[in-house]
């Protein structure tokens, strides 16, 4: 069942000569995880904003959209910098996570349940009474994620969720994404952490200057030779070293792949 459908979407920011997105078509189903990869400025962030319905949108972004965006259920967006997303209106982590649901006008009971569930989910229950301003970047990103999950979205959009996190924090986020997808959430994640993709992501879309350059299963896209062009995002470290060694045949993407090829 498709949760997100983008049909030939073109988007231009206000007062901009070039379009940020050109003729993008994308379908994401419930339970699927799709990664958007591409160099800085390729349009991944814009694509997430458009998918979330924030561009053109509620007064902040503006801009011109042609084509169609259809969502089946609420979409929630997580931005890369946690400290910008802190509401500034919460004394405690609990309040911070409750911020979103409160904005949706839910009754207190429902908010309470949802918040408690999210805190447990993201493993930040031990932080519930802390002041959000005293948390580290990684902890804060998890709290914001809990806040976003507490709004019970059907579609989760994440913009570089691990860029500011240390490896332990990043691993937690990827694991959480996999679990949420198993429960039926549709997930789209823009990321430059290519090494994490084979184990976490079903499909990959490579964006270049606002257009879809390649799209397919993780293996199909990441095995491509063209990912190694100078301005392209590259594939996994293992694929890179295999290529550098000049070895033939299907490219291994992960350490286990490599081990079975090289023995």
């Amino acid at each position: 069942m498709s949760a997100v459908v983008l049909d030939r979407v073109t988007f231009r920011y206000p007062a901009s000569a070039t379009a940020a997105l050109v003729d993008i078509s994308l379908v994401v189903n419930s339970g699927e995880i799709v990664a958007l990869i591409g160099a800085t400025g390729s349009g991944a962030s814009t694509l997430l904003l458009v998918t979330a319905g924030l561009a053109p949108g509620g007064g902040v972004v503006g801009g011109e959209l042609t084509g169609e965006v259809r969502r089946d259920g609420r979409a929630a967006l997580l931005l890369p910098t946690p400290w910008t997303q802190v509401s500034g209106m919460a004394f405690t982590v609990w309040d911070e996570v409750a911020f979103g649901p409160a904005n949706l006008g839910w009754p207190r009971e429902r908010i309470s349940e949802s918040v408690d569930r999210s805190l447990t989910r993201v493993d930040v229950v031990h932080l519930r009474d802390r002041d959000p301003g005293t948390l580290s970047g990684g902890e804060l990103q998890r709290v914001i994620l809990a806040g976003v999950l507490a709004m019970e979205p059907a579609i989760l959009l994440l913009d570089e969720p691990t860029a500011e996190l240390d490896p332990a924090g990043a691993a937690l986020v990827w694991r959480l994404i996999r679990e949420l997808a198993q429960e039926g959430m549709a997930v789209v994640v823009a990321t430059s952490d290519i090494d994490a993709l084979p184990e976490s992501v079903d499909r990959v879309v490579w964006l270049e200057r606002g257009r879809v350059r390649t799209s397919g299963t993780t293996r199909q896209v990441l095995a491509g030779e063209d990912l190694w062009e100078p301005d392209a995002p590259g594939s996994t470290s293992i694929a890179g070293v295999w290529r550098r060694a000049g070895l033939p045949g299907p490219v291994p993407l992960t350490v286990p792949d490599l081990v079975s090829r090289a023995r």
Partner: protein, 222 residues
């Protein structure tokens, strides 16, 4: 004092400078500033000291400029008034955290957009302070001299103020967008999570203060 309803605290903080300006100089200013001083002292201990120090540091350069511009008479009259405003403001920031004010506004069903505008602005302040600290570190490590005579400090100002302002503007933009991602919608009535308790006594006091200011104004004009 913190248990008082946010609107009460807000009214008091607004009434002080109002009375200072409306009252005859310099006595109005002196009286209002004394009242402000009492409020600051009632914060107790270290916090009183910090608040008083912040107010004094902010006000002192102003007194200096006033002396240059208006001589000692004008300095006293205007200085007392300005200091009252500053003291009232610093006291308010110490005694009323923005989240409580926003909760109060929302519980009273003030327009959500007003509440959010205030929230975004107020929440940016601690972030800006932290950022200013990091910025000073970074620029000093690049070779910027910050200790020394007034000319040196003036030159340093550009390297510090400019990036702060630029990044603050950029940040306001991002924060506004982030608020939208958290479900902010002016059309939807937000559920108040912890509306601050109010009382009849407080309401009467608030209106009383407002009416006193108006009465004083009328009396002075007439």
């Amino acid at each position: 004092m913190r248990g008082l309803h946010p609107f009460t605290l807000l009214t008091v903080a607004a009434a002080l400078p109002a009375l200072a300006w409306i009252g005859p100089a310099p006595w109005g200013g002196a009286a209002a500033l004394s009242a402000a001083g009492v409020l600051v002292l009632s914060l107790g201990g270290r916090q009183s000291f910090r608040v008083a120090r912040a107010a004094v540091f902010t006000a002192t350069p102003l007194w200096f400029f006033l002396y240059l511009l208006q001589g000692s008479g004008g300095m006293l009259a205007t200085g007392l008034r300005l200091t009252t405003m500053i003291a009232g403001g610093v006291w308010l920031v110490a005694v009323l955290p923005p989240p409580r004010l926003i909760e109060a506004m929302i519980a009273r069903e003030w327009p959500v957009s007003v509440a959010f505008l205030l929230a975004a602005t107020l929440s940016a302040i601690p972030a800006l302070r932290a950022r200013a600290g990091h910025l000073v570190d970074a620029q000093r490590s690049r070779g910027l001299r910050t200790r020394g005579g007034p000319l040196i400090r003036l030159a340093a100002l550009r390297a510090l103020a400019l990036p702060l302002v630029l990044s603050a503007l950029h940040e306001v933009d991002e924060r506004a967008m982030a608020l939208e991602t958290r479900g902010f919608d002016p059309q939807v009535r937000r559920t108040p999570l912890a509306p601050p308790p109010d009382s009849l006594a407080q309401r009467i006091s608030r209106w009383g203060l407002v009416l006193s200011c108006v009465a004083l104004l009328v009396w002075r004009i007439a």
